[in-house]
Point group: C2
Chain length 753, copies 2
């Protein structure tokens, strides 16, 4: 292969580095107004009155929006439960909830006017933790729940609805008989774990520009899910899809934060109200108050044989979903489904709950529930090993699933060699010569820990469409609904198209994303771009290739099957024609274009607990060597080894970069990321108070291994990746800290700093 498997330079790299790439925040439209949002200062309250008189009177103010003048067909939205409002209706549910918005001629006036809005709250008792939210007669964050979607699970999976409680979503997953399993076991161990709530912190906060222009609402948005945003906006304003156009400029990172509506509804309402384009750009602090990774409490009870063989496992997963469901239900389902880990366990029962509280809403976050449960089951397995006096490496080797074995009855068999993966990680970190507990200078102790984790791939129930155009000059344009959020998808797809058409990569371009033109896609998430959309892209390229070969056969007067395509040439025997010549001779003049279309979707399967088979298995194995100062408690990660399976690397450089990025995300959560609250008030909504990993935190020895088992559904056997690397970091570090100090970490964050 000439285009695939090559570390092609990112096509959007140069412009981004040079600052030439245009982001939604860069857009200026004639007459554009600037919006600012007023956020609730109380965690839970009924809104008695909103007085905007002073704000409206302020010079420069063009419009003030509240629940009283929204004039929308529907004020409620939400991917799984329509429990969120464009602007607060009857109640506010957390500090930061959006109450009103001002559009003004300049940013300053908008910010000043917002301060002049007077909201009369009737405060209500609030709940902040899962524990408080679940006590009997706890105050309800939502009295009623509109339009709760039933995911429609297959055998073994179940969605249980709890009304009049703060349980937003409950997923149950069962196989075998866990009670019998415990009776069969020699020993039973139960441990509980707490995982922090992290902020995605994309470099670009939420931002959009909305414009009602005559017949059409156009929104330029930094979103990961332009088509769902179109769908929600159409519903909110009672417009046909053909009258809603979502354009995605360059996006500065998403990590799950940019799924679904964020700024778009408010900006669109304001634009319609004042008859001008409106920009709404959140500050970093507002992004902290918009969406986060759900905090988790996980309890795992495992029955084992003396030799460490797993027999039965019971998992209880509680996610603090915050004030609105968002994609929390889906995260909860995935956390629950993955809660027992990549191990052979005959008897299993998992209950996973998403719980409403009066805190920042939790939702999709790189790893999608995986990091929370992986920390739990990978620390738990180390604790079991220690109690049984078995080597943590050995107990994993004993219980890890084999390639081809089933993770969950009916689901896709394991598609790569987990044990081989674990061996190479252990070898790379020097497992056999580990310095555990070894005292260095003074109070510094060292230790090594490992962890093996896995998540099912996303993008199920996701129809993917792609279009490949061959222009009359033989150049090629790919149009796909996947969003370039920095993961390098545009470059990888370009390579696939070039490979399928046998043209040089520089002849191929990727079109900008515009829901008026781009074929439908459901959103860019769950490592599904390469694995799911990649198949639509490949099919579209093959459809275009087929049509091109027909053109070539007409021009070369040769049977289609005897024409070879190579490096932008069509060849038949001694004849050789460039793509341009073929197109222009076949279509004459400048008129001819070839339109290739590709479609892919995974079908429903009742035999699978989640109702859809996992398209692939995304693994994340890790090993860490840490240094702990037993006096200060400071933890340094000296060396880190990450391993995942790409199936096939379309662009090796980008694959390694994705895995490194994921691992660094994991380090942040293991060491110091956590949103702290006091009486519902978020205390660290800025980088001054909230600590993100910096280059100084990157281990001096940092290795990423990427297996290429070829077992993926994507082009040339590619699997999704970019999330696996985050899963094992926290437990690997925690296990290393235990090895160094004998202190077991069951509640992150590790670092006292």
């Amino acid at each position: 292969m000439s285009a695939v498997g090559v570390s092609l330079e990112r096509i959007d790299g140069a412009e981004k580095i040079a600052g030439r790439a245009v982001y939604a925040g860069d857009l200026r439209l004639p007459g554009m107004a600037y919006a600012k949002v007023l956020r609730s200062t109380v965690p839970h309250a009924r809104i008695r009155r909103i007085d905007c008189a002073k704000a409206r009177a302020m010079p420069g103010v063009l419009g003030v929006l509240t629940r009283d003048n929204l004039h929308v067909a529907s004020n409620s939205f939400g991917a799984y439960v329509r429990d969120q409002q464009i602007l607060a209706g009857e109640k506010v549910r957390y500090i930061g909830d959006m109450v009103a918005a001002v559009a003004a001629a300049d940013r300053g006036s908008a910010a000043a006017a917002v301060e002049l809005i007077d909201v009369d709250y009737e405060e209500l008792p609030a709940v902040y933790t899962v524990e408080d939210a679940l006590v009997k007669n706890a105050p309800l964050v939502h009295e009623t729940l509109e339009n709760r979607k039933d995911p429609g699970y297959g055998r073994g999976g179940k969605h249980i609805v709890h009304d009049h409680s703060n349980i937003c979503f409950h997923f149950r997953h069962e196989r075998g008989d866990v009670e019998d399993g415990f009776l069969d076991s020699d020993q039973i161990f139960e441990d509980s774990f707490h995982f922090p709530s992290a902020q995605h912190y994309p470099m670009e906060p939420h931002v959009c520009v909305a414009q009602f222009e005559g017949e059409v609402l156009t929104v330029w948005s930094a979103t990961q899910s332009p088509f769902p945003v179109r769908q929600e906006l159409a519903r909110i304003f009672g417009l046909p899809f053909s009258a809603v156009r979502v354009i995605v400029p360059s996006v500065g990172g998403g990590y799950g934060a940019k799924s679904g509506i964020k700024t778009e509804g408010i900006a669109a309402c304001l634009s319609r109200m004042i008859g001008r384009p409106v920009k709404l750009a959140f500050g970093a602090d507002e992004t902290f108050k918009t969406i986060c990774q759900p905090r988790a409490k996980v309890t795992i009870k495992t029955g084992v044989k003396k030799d460490g063989t797993f027999v039965a496992r019971h998992c209880e997963v509680y996610l603090n979903g915050g004030a609105y469901a968002n994609s929390g239900p889906s995260v909860t389902e995935k956390a629950g489904y993955r809660a027992h880990g990549p191990y052979r366990i005959p008897h299993l029962l998992t209950n996973a709950y998403s719980v409403y509280t009066n805190t920042v809403p939790g939702g999709a976050f790189r790893g999608f529930g995986g990091p929370q449960v992986a920390f739990a089951y990978e620390t738990h397995i180390d604790m079991i090993a220690e109690r049984l006096g078995i080597d943590p490496f050995e107990i994993r080797m004993k219980n890890l699933l084999d390639k081809g074995e089933s993770f969950s009855s009916g689901d896709t068999p394991i598609d790569c060699d987990l044990k081989a993966g674990l061996k190479s990680v252990a070898q790379a970190i020097g497992w056999d010569a580990r310095p555990n507990g070894q005292q260095n200078s003074g109070s510094i102790k060292r230790g090594i820990g490992i962890a093996t984790a896995m998540k099912d791939g996303g993008g199920t129930n996701k129809p993917a469409n792609a279009a490949v155009t061959i222009f009359n000059d033989g150049s090629v344009l790919l149009s796909t609904g996947s969003v370039e959020v920095g993961q390098g998808m545009r470059t990888a797809f370009l390579q696939v198209v070039a490979e399928e058409l046998s043209v040089p990569t520089e002849r191929v371009r990727v079109a900008a994303l515009d829901t008026h033109y781009t074929p439908f896609d459901k959103g860019t998430n769950a490592s599904s771009a390469t694995s799911i959309m990649g198949q639509a892209v490949q099919k579209a390229a093959r459809d275009a290739r087929r049509q091109f070969l027909e053109a070539a056969s007409a021009v070369l007067k040769a049977p289609v099957e005897e024409i070879r395509l190579e490096n932008g040439m069509a060849m038949y025997g001694a004849q050789k024609l460039g793509f341009r010549e073929v197109m222009q001779r076949h279509f004459r003049d400048t008129e001819g274009e070839i339109w290739g279309r590709g479609y892919f979707k995974i079908g429903k399967d009742e035999n699978v607990p989640l109702g859809y088979p996992s398209p692939f298995w995304e693994i994340g194995f890790g090993a860490a060597e840490v240094e702990v100062d037993v006096e200060t408690g400071e933890v340094k990660v000296l060396r880190y080894v990450s391993l995942t399976d790409a199936g096939k690397m379309i662009n090796p450089l980008q694959c390694h970069a994705q895995d490194e990025g994921a691992a660094v995300f994991g380090l942040g959560q293991a060491l110091f990321e956590d949103l702290s609250y006091q009486d519902g008030q978020l205390l660290n909504s800025s980088l001054i108070d909230y600590r993100l990993p910096t280059f100084a935190d990157v281990p001096s020895t940092f290795t990423t291994f990427i297996m290429e088992g070829g077992g993926g559904p994507g082009p040339y056997g590619a699997k999704g990746m970019g999330e696996g690397g985050i899963l094992p970091v926290a437990p690997a570090v925690g296990n290393a800290v235990f090895a160094a100090t004998g202190k077991r970490l069951q509640m992150l964050k590790v670092s006292p700093l």
Copy 2:
């Protein structure tokens, strides 16, 4: 029909009236620079040296572009002859020719810096008129002509190349034997006529924003021909089509001026040079110096029988093409082909020449050569009538072609009843009771004149593609390459799509035009949108309808042929489903889209003089009553009647508006429009010196008749229109002036004011 034939309000009307429509000139991009062009101050010269040092040194200046730093793959462009340069190379060829360009942080600096550029010219002798340009050894405007396109005519038509002369293009059209014809004639009359050079004066001058962004050059341009512009830019910069994106925002009129590259090449070069988006907006005065309607000298010699029957006609047409060919050759060919008028003439010989001079380039202009020759043959026929003592109405009735008769051997038969048209015009103006020569108060005399003219329809050799998407909610989007230049094409096409799909018009939208997505089209000109693109639009809608019916038949479990579509519902027996329900039940969820495609192109035909049959015949009949002050020479048009044939009116209101607009264009040229030069210097390049018709010039009685003979190739029998109305105005007014005063006008303009 529910959607077609209705005077639907223009979909872009409200936003344009409210000033909300976004034009290229409204765009602001981050870091955008402003460009200004330096134009030649001499009519004809070799450029010795261009010194930009002072300009480059000026604060605010970001880049200065000249022939010396263009760095393009090709500096020459042109639709028919590649004789024009992005910036002057070796020579400048008229006062206003573009020599250099500056990009600066603000408009002011750009304008000031341009003044600091010092150009060293070696002046050359110049030619301004056709007469001067054709004398032996006249100075050559172009020494050599690269890439002259051979139009490849059919029988009777011919393209003759004259090298080493100022003849840019020569079209010859012959049938029968004109010399024999003259021998057969009782009398022979020869007259010469001069038609002025007019300026299109679209309300929006030429403007674009160009941006080289990483891999792709994007140009937002006020152009009538985005795809040819893409093609030229790709060639100029050596880029694949997939790397050139031309987006067309709202356009403020074109009338032919906005065909082909104008500002785009310079703005793109500057953007690449300085790494920023660049806006280049011409002032109105610069538009005057960019393109105009070619001045014409037409000599017609006609042989007739005593009773006024035409026997033979010899036409000589000379168009002053100015310094560059532009679309002049095509205008020349059309002027030549139409030079003998809509009459039965057995023997014919026409030679039409486009001649280079050192004046503003001439090119496409509403009417496309038609007004020049119509003025000649319609004044000529009145002169013949007078000499033979025949009524001008009768002589036309005697010689006009019948419906079904051939205008030119092999070409499409006449598709409407010309005589019926002439009768209604004569009747409406009150021909039989005409007040010719009647003396009113003092020096005021009144008279009535008529004229009948015809042009072949354009859009031949024009492939038209269209796409119709039915979204999952049942709403519809049309994507077409035709440009909305104010003619109302978006509204008319929307009506066609709604009609074909049987959905309410408010469910249909028309997508913005973007060459990365919009199916290929060759340009919006020659009244071809409704008649040619309209067929592609109708086919695309029918393709979408077919696919939708299949979906409906699957959902309703009914045979396709038994399903009826009505007002957005699919019906089978008693069952009734909305489009949304059909789409969502058929495709499930939100994923399904239907893509309909339509393609239309007129095939080549060797039996037709121009190589392609005319898709339809666009007629323009007119009658004018004037009042002439024989002392001051002031001419007032009191009443005007215009008649054309729409075949079928898709939107009657818009059809009448188009015909009125065309007639008013004609009035301007008849009465006072003319570009005047002194030593090659254009004297009236502003509305202070150049007189355009105002509402005060519109006749107090102004009637437009539109026939609906249904003979057109477009949807439901529609023909193209919007140009016909301009053709007869000048001769009708001239003939009326003669009727009033006995003074014959063979050289426009009529008014001394």
